[in-house]
């Protein structure tokens, strides 16, 4: 499994990639593998001001359901429309087509408290 070094990670298995004050968020390869076949990504928090660690949605796999936690404070500006019809994209391409949201970040300094790839791989014992 891959954990790109240009991403930051949460202990809840989300990844975040930033470009300026806009960030893209998804779940890690480890997370999609643990969940198994993903059948529904439910995110209805677009436009709401959220804090770091807030639940911004849920991901439903055949067998299990898991909450999604926002890595840093901010506002969701876009939900990946591809996931409406093709939730399996999260399994197939978790860092690419399987991204979940784009958000505006309130405070870039919060990124410093997230895990880097080395710390995340250590967390999951990979």
């Amino acid at each position: 499994m891959e954990y790109p070094s240009n991403l930051r990670y949460t202990k809840d298995h989300e990844w975040i990639k930033t470009e300026g004050n806009i960030a893209t968020v998804g779940i890690t390869d480890f997370a999609q593998h643990e969940l198994g076949d993903i059948v529904f990504v439910d995110i209805d928090t677009k436009g709401k001001p959220l804090s770091a660690n807030d639940i911004f949605g849920t991901v439903e796999a055949v067998k299990t359901v898991s909450d999604l936690y926002l890595p840093v404070s901010g506002t969701i500006i876009e939900v990946n429309a591809l996931l409406e019809g093709s939730p399996e994209s999260v399994n197939q391409d978790p860092y690419g087509n399987g991204w979940m949201i784009k958000m505006e970040i309130d405070n870039p300094a919060e990124l410093d408290s997230l895990l880097d790839a080395a710390a995340y791989t250590q967390l999951i014992g990979a």
Binding site: G36, F40, V62
Partner: protein, 362 residues
Amino acid sequence: MKNTPFTEKHIALGAKMAAFAGYNMPISYTGINEEHHCVRNNAGVFDVSHMGEFMLKGENALDLIQRVTTNDASKLTDGKAQYSCLPNNEGGIVDDLLVYCVEQNKTYMLVVNASNIEKDWNWISSHNTKGVEMHNISAHTALLAVQGPKATEYLQQLTDMDITNLKYYTFAKGKFAGIDNVLVSATGYTGAGGVEIYFEDKDGASDKIWEEIFRVGTPHGMKPIGLAARDTLRLEKGFCLYGNDIDDTTSPIEAGLSWITKFTKDFTNRNHIEAQKKDGVSKKLVGIELLDRGIPRHGHTIQNNDGKEIGVVTSGTQSPTLNKAIGLAYVASEHAAIGSEINIMIRDKAIKAKVVGLPFVA
């Protein structure tokens, strides 16, 4: 945690493992959907050796079975099996089970859920007032379910028993894959066709049978399948799962198990259950299909359009065959008619659903 004779094979094959009923069991190998389709369309192999098996022997064996189960085991002749359940005295179900007639009036095998082995053994023993010889052979009995429309076609070459033409809910006993005394039964929990294979775990029999099954099946795409796909397969057929859809508090009538509840004989709590059948019950187990996006899960409550609670989901999943969210649920009887519109409460949202007929997948 206990192992089955095949636990090490599952781990070596890279299965995702988890504790189930005290056993270290494979949940999935390559992915639930892929495994599910493999069984529905071709054939797959489940290790279900965690299930419990009791042998009941002697002239009073049938009498004991008749008193503790709801179905009429006197109809069973040699080589026939039936689905049944053990009712308790409080209107609920101790367990659901299969009753195998090995030799009519003399020898029967009961196959029970792994999580209920001790409970069932104690329950049946407490009713054994006429000296029936009982053996709990669970610990040394291996069970592989080879399920799917192609299963018997592949396996036939491993035995002289005619397993291709074995009728549903019948079984044969004989030599299989070079091992004697193997019981091959045209049953299963997937509704996909195929057989269940029972044998004693001794002298390398488990290794031999596993290897032979895959030797003949693998070239045709037969795969090992985990318990997660077993659950989606059974749910598509509307089969009850003990602990989810039926338990110590649900009656056979509420659960839609009238068809295995025969008032032609006496059994535990018969009068109460017969009254339920005659007078009706206040809740019923029904199939549900979601009309809005979401997946129903065990424990989700159900409301009517006025926001009144009218039921609870007992099982739910995204059906891999239908690609729809389906489930089983108890609803108040006035909402149990096919087509009734109900709302499943998922994360504080009311998701529209309707009652549908079972099975979901014919």
